[in-house]
Structure formats: structure tokens, C-alpha cells
């Protein structure tokens, strides 16, 4: 297995508040990595640095050999659009769009024609148990349904890396596990690497491996032989 994305000795502060103090982590292609740790330890900040949303004050972010930390904003934003997918705690669907348009959004943004994008997006509805909800707007979906729509949107463009920050945080246990089951199933099928921030052990247990973030640093436990 080869490393697809990596943070090396990353430091990042919000003004006077240090959020990352030398965080390093390497994720292999196709791996599902759980990022755990106490509130405020720097999990989301690490995710945002890895995804090229935030630029580290020092240290390196490497994706597929490219030096993300040294890229210009336009380059990072096309990387995010073309190679990465995102799912957050609250689905963050666009309320003005229908569910199927929301799923199609990453395709539309990267230049796929509506005629191709909408059927491709529509194919996800059956797969995620969302048949018949294609034309609803986000306000007309339950939390679990909206989160599955957001998951479909994160995966529709077959990203190389899916970044998921507490994707089940707003859901009850059963719905949360259903979303994780779908996420893991789809990611494995597409070979998508997943970086999953969660503080819930039962959610982290869907991953291949976990790392702990504490005080802006990453502790990877020694692997336990199976």
C-alpha cells in the first residue's frame, strides 16, 4: 500500500490560539482512517489542513506527491473540487436546490453537463435507500435522509479522498450506523480513501485504523497484531 495523503509536522494557529503543534499523519490509498480525540484537540483543523482548506503556518501537506501547502488558492480549490469529497456534521445541503441537484453539484461544478450529472446523481438514491426523495428540498428531508444525500454528494464524483467531519454527529445511533455502513460500503467499492473525524468509538470502529489527536499532535497507537 502507498501513502496517498500526509501531514508532516504541521503547525497552525488561529491568531494566538495554537490548534496544531507539529501534527503528522500518513494515510494509505483506500484506507479508512478514524481521527479521534477530545473536543478542541485539533481534529477539524487537521482535516481542513489536509484538505487544503487551511494552509499550515509550517510543515507540509502532501497529496499524491503534490505539495498542497505550497499551492496557490486557485490550485487548492481545483484540487478540492476534482479530487476530494466532503461530508460534514450537518449535511450543509443547498436549501434552494432539490436533493438530486444537491448530489449532482460536485459534478456540475467540475463541468459535467446537467444531462449526464443528474442521472449519475440519481443513481445514488436507490443505493442509499432514498428512492422517491429526488425532488425534495433539504427542508423536507429528515436528518438521516439529508445526511445520506450529503454522503452521496461527497462520493458522486468518485473522489480520491473523502473528508468526513463528524458525519453522524447529528444522528441517532441506528441512523448513524446505517450512514457509516453505506459510507464504508461505497468507499470500499470505489477505492476511496476516507478520513473520518469522530469522537464516537462505535463510529470509529468502521475504520481500518484510528489515530488520537491530543493538544494539536497525533498519537498513532502501535498496531495490534490481528
Amino acid at each position: 500500500m502507498s501513502v496517498v495523503i500526509e501531514a508532516r509536522d504541521v503547525e497552525f494557529s488561529f491568531g494566538q490560539t495554537p490548534a496544531l503543534r507539529g501534527a503528522s499523519v500518513a494515510v494509505e490509498a483506500g484506507e479508512i482512517l478514524a481521527v479521534m480525540g477530545p473536543s478542541g484537540s485539533g481534529k477539524s483543523t487537521l482535516l481542513h489542513c489536509l484538505a487544503g482548506i487551511l494552509v499550515p503556518d509550517s510543515g507540509e501537506i502532501l497529496f499524491d506527491g503534490a505539495r498542497v501547502h505550497a499551492m496557490a488558492e486557485t490550485e487548492r480549490s481545483s484540487l478540492r473540487r476534482d479530487r476530494f469529497g466532503f461530508v460534514f456534521q450537518f449535511g450543509q445541503l443547498v436549501p434552494e436546490l432539490t436533493a438530486v441537484e444537491n448530489v449532482a453539484l460536485p459534478l456540475l461544478l467540475s463541468g459535467v453537463h446537467r444531462k449526464q450529472a443528474l442521472p449519475r446523481a440519481g443513481a445514488w438514491f436507490a443505493r442509499l435507500g432514498l428512492d422517491g426523495l429526488e425532488q425534495r428540498r433539504s427542508g423536507e428531508l429528515s436528518g438521516g435522509q439529508a445526511q445520506r444525500v450529503a454522503l452521496a454528494r461527497g462520493l458522486v464524483a468518485e473522489p480520491q479522498v473523502l473528508f468526513a467531519d463528524e458525519p453522524t454527529g447529528a444522528l441517532d445511533s441506528l441512523t448513524g450506523e446505517q450512514v457509516m455502513d453505506l459510507l464504508v460500503g461505497a468507499a470500499r467499492e470505489q477505492g476511496t480513501t476516507v478520513i473520518l473525524v469522530t469522537h464516537e468509538p462505535r463510529i470509529a470502529a468502521y475504520a481500518d485504523r484510528e489515530v488520537m489527536v491530543r493538544d494539536g499532535r497525533v498519537n498513532a497507537p502501535d498496531r495490534i497484531a490481528s
Binding site: V184, A207, N219
Partner: protein, 174 residues
């Protein structure tokens, strides 16, 4: 897992031969650890001795498989009681972990590291159970979930304890 009560429970469905009981026990409750025939028959004869089952239909010839077992009222009452009474909560692991943490602090050993090791062992087991849950039947999932929720409870305790180690150290090492 209580073998006598489980066999009695299986007999509540219908009178059965020993081999039927073993087959169903192994399928639903054995979890890869089949019940030896010897244990099936010794358990059944103890249940018969205690009046919880009676033996019928002894066919000509010999051999244990010719007997059918029928649950009695006494047996049925026992199953009923067993099913309705809650199981004693057993904070077993908790006591072991607790003892380890307190001793580690007393002996000035790296308690936080022990907890980290325990956490990753727990998560490792949780991953295995999650895999079983994803691959298996609903019955497997039900059983795996029970394990998962218990391990999660331990993990919460581990987090809480980890966050309080400094305060704890002061209490156990005045």
C-alpha cells in the same frame, strides 16, 4: 451463557430429541463453540432428575437419541423467571482496569500509556465486532452490538479516567 436454561428454553418451543437441541443450540448460541453431545445429555438428565423435563417416546432399542424431552410446568416456570429477571450487571472489566490504573499511579508507572494501550485494544476488538456485524446476519449483528455497547462504555470510562489522571494521582499518592 447458561446451558441448562437455554436448553429448557429451546424445549419450550416443542418436545425435541437431544440432537435437535444440540443443533439449534450450536446454530443460535454456540458462536463457534459447539456444545459437546455429552454435555447435552448430562444436562438433560439433570433437568429430568429435577423434574424440569420428562422423557417420552422411548423407541425400541437403546441409545440416547431415541428419547424425546418434554418441558414440565416447573421447567416452564423457571424459563419464564429467567427471561423476566434482569441479569446482574457485572462491572468486571471495570474493576480490573480500575485496579490497574490506581496501582500504576501509586507505583508511578505510566498510567496514561496503559490507558492508551487499553483503548487501542478495545477499538481493535470493536473493529472486529463491526466487521462481523457488517458481514453477518441480523442475529450476529444483535450479538455484536451487545459487545460493542459494552466496550464503548469501557472506553468512555477510559476517556474520563484519562482526563482525570493528574487529580487521581494526587489522591492516591498524597
Amino acid at each position: 451463557m447458561s446451558v441448562p436454561l437455554t436448553l429448557l428454553g429451546l424445549l419450550e418451543r416443542e418436545p425435541s430429541h437431544g440432537y435437535d437441541l444440540k443443533r439449534d443450540y450450536d446454530a443460535f448460541f454456540g458462536r463457534g463453540k459447539p456444545l459437546p453431545f455429552g454435555q447435552v445429555y448430562s444436562t438433560l438428565s439433570r433437568l429430568a432428575r429435577d423434574g424440569k423435563v420428562v422423557i417420552s417416546d422411548v423407541a425400541p432399542g437403546s441409545g440416547p437419541d431415541r428419547k424425546r424431552y418434554i418441558i414440565t410446568d416447573v421447567g416452564a416456570t423457571e424459563v419464564e423467571q429467567w427471561l423476566t429477571q434482569p441479569v446482574d450487571p457485572e462491572p468486571h472489566l471495570q474493576t480490573v482496569l480500575f485496579a490497574k490504573v490506581v496501582l500504576a499511579l501509586m507505583l508511578d508507572r505510566p498510567a496514561a500509556e496503559y490507558l492508551d494501550t487499553q483503548r487501542s485494544a478495545h477499538l481493535h476488538r470493536m473493529r472486529e465486532l463491526t466487521e462481523i456485524k457488517r458481514a453477518g446476519s441480523l442475529v450476529d449483528a444483535l450479538l455484536a452490538d451487545h459487545g460493542l455497547y459494552h466496550l464503548e462504555a469501557d472506553l468512555r470510562w477510559i476517556e474520563m479516567t484519562g482526563a482525570r489522571l493528574d487529580a487521581l494521582r494526587k489522591e492516591v499518592r498524597p
